[in-house]
């Protein structure tokens, strides 16, 4: 299975402590589709494992390809399942794993600065409270639809 590069080393050296790895992110991918064009939106998925002894909170992210990045959940809104920002972020208890997947929680990228094409590799930083951030340099863009996703974002003014 493909190993994802986790760029924690420099941060840990500066901090002067050496926990092997606080957060492990595997199987990350970004969706490429009709909406992943300049000015549009897409999402990042993957598996986040909290290897610390404390609860951590996945609060957001950063990437050069998006102007706005939020942690989203799927919620029942007006009788329909829709996506919306998770207030305060996604808590991942000590030792547990959170799965970001179509139709569930995901890292939402909005205000895309360019097209995300199938097969592109994108650098994405995952930001946490209670753990150092993690940057993946090779998040691959997969052509994918599905997950019954309908976006609900006040910023995008797409709610019904």
């Amino acid at each position: 299975m493909k190993k994802i590069a986790v760029l924690l080393a420099s941060v840990l050296l500066l901090a002067g402590c050496a926990p092997a790895q606080q957060v492990e992110i595997s199987d990350a991918w970004i969706k490429s589709g009709e909406m992943s064009v300049q000015g549009g939106m897409t999402a990042v998925y993957g598996t986040i494992t909290n290897k610390t002894n404390n609860d951590i909170v996945f609060t957001g992210g950063q990437t050069a390809i998006a102007g706005l990045v939020e942690v989203h959940e799927m919620a029942m809104i007006d009788g329909q399942m829709k996506m919306q920002q998770i207030e305060g972020g996604l808590t991942i208890p000590a030792g547990q794993t959170a799965v970001l997947e179509p139709g569930g929680n995901h890292l939402m990228l909005m205000q895309l600065t360019g097209d995300v094409l199938a097969g592109d590799s994108v650098s994405v930083e995952f930001i946490f409270e209670g753990a150092d951030s993690v940057t993946l340099d090779d998040v691959i863009a997969k052509p994918a639809e599905g997950g019954d996703e309908e976006y609900h974002s006040e910023e995008m003014e797409m709610s019904n």
Binding site: K31, T97, A98, V99, K142, P143
Partner: protein
């Protein structure tokens, strides 16, 4: 949503076997044996990364799909590189029994089952992308042969993804993933499905039988030998093709209605081998070298002039190929005629000096031509294998 999902598989298995070890005794041993049998096909993996792409220097798997694709007009070298990035990641995961990323049905990734897939490129791709200067030596569209009755729906293509596994569900699921990730870049030209024996039917390394009943592939170079390297793997030319090979793909229909009217002796003379064990008519076992000079007391050659193995024998040094033929079964007509044959493959370093001279001799005279008709044909240059962190054929499209 937070879940304690998966990733405990190997740890749990190790813990379980540890418990069995503590329990000891023959009952535990029986449990282990049964588990091994149940997971025998699922757990077997072929290696993905290395000098060569996977699925060529390997014993035949049970089932296969040859997927031929034509690139879309807007697909350029940069998009081919993105295409190959996706396919490389997919094959690596499937070969270890994992679902591909973004798999809509990850529950179908139930085991590697010797899954393999490799990628090759047709002469038309080099023309479309202006890559003629990187085309390997001895690689071009095959010449027309007299015996050919080629149908376009079984022939050609810009890109080949040849997929195989020991389990039909694993094959179908893997094929679906690879085709899904091809669709931003290409359309499907053909999918040709075939099969060989189920694992365990014949010992590894033993030649398979085709649907005419013949053992097929006897004179092949042996896997893992220097002889195999010399026949198959390219070691010069553009860097992307080093460690790769050239494939001649032929869909060969069998005329079983008339073949079945022949008696055993006639069938054996057509081939030059015994049906029972594949031994040459001049020998006792399959591995015996045919004595093409041997004659009956009446002066006729024991292996007839028209016999397949005589015509296919090398006419010059180096005229050898590696065959990896799967069978196909495309149904039965109302009158009971079976539509069967071979998805025949020849792997070699150079089509002009290896496959083509052999095929020309068979084209001129081979009694087997009366019952075997090539109805599909294609040729692909198969890139070398991806090293650690590399994308398949990145040297061609970078």
């Amino acid at each position: 949503m937070v879940t304690r999902r998966g990733f405990l598989g190997s740890g749990a298995a190790a813990a379980a076997s540890g418990l069995v070890g503590v329990a000891g005794g023959s009952a535990a041993a029986t449990v282990i044996t049964n588990q091994n049998q149940e997971t025998f096909a699922a757990k077997r993996e072929l290696s993905f990364r290395g000098n060569h792409q996977m699925g060529i220097e390997a014993d035949l798997q049970a089932v296969t799909n040859f997927v031929s694709l034509d690139i879309k007009p807007e697909t350029d070298r940069a998009s081919m590189l993105r295409f190959m990035s996706l396919i490389t990641d997919d094959i690596e995961r499937l070969a270890s029994g994992q679902p591909v990323l973004a798999d809509p049905a990850p529950e179908l990734a139930i085991g590697a089952a010797r899954f393999s897939a490799y990628v090759g490129f047709g002469p038309s791709l080099f023309r479309k992308l202006g890559l003629e200067s990187l085309q390997p030596e001895g690689f071009a569209e095959l010449p027309k042969f007299k015996v050919d009755r080629l149908q376009p729906e079984f022939s050609g293509g810009d890109v080949l993804i040849h997929i195989a596994a020991d389990d039909p569900i694993v094959l179908a699921h893997g094929t679906r993933g690879l085709v899904r990730d091809s669709m931003p870049f290409a359309t499907v030209r053909f999918v040709q499905s075939g099969f060989a024996h189920t694992p365990g039917m014949v010992p590894a390394g033993i030649t398979h039988r085709n649907l005419m009943g013949q053992v097929d592939g006897t004179a092949n170079p042996k896997l893992g030998t220097e002889d195999f390297n010399q026949v198959v793997w390219i070691d010069s030319g553009p860097s992307w093709i080093q460690g790769g090979t050239l494939l001649a793909f032929r869909r060969i229909a069998m005329q079983l209605d008339t073949w079945d009217q022949l008696g055993t002796t006639s069938k054996e003379e057509v081939i030059g081998r015994k049906l029972s064990n594949g031994a040459p008519l001049t020998g006792e076992k399959e591995s015996d070298t045919p004595d093409l000079a041997a004659r009956h007391p009446n002066g006729l050659t024991v292996i007839p002039d028209f016999a397949h193995i005589r015509r296919a024998a090398p006419g010059a040094e180096g005229e050898r190929i590696f065959r990896r033929p799967f069978s196909y079964d495309a149904g039965i007509s109302k009158s009971g005629s079976v539509d069967v044959g071979l998805l025949w493959t020849a792997y070699n370093r150079n089509l002009e000096t290896q496959f083509i001279p052999i095929q020309r001799r068979l084209d001129e005279l081979d009694l087997l031509n009366s019952w075997t008709v090539p109805i599909g044909s294609a040729e692909f240059a198969i890139a070398g294998g991806p090293g650690p962190g590399e994308v398949i054929a990145e040297g061609l499209f970078s």
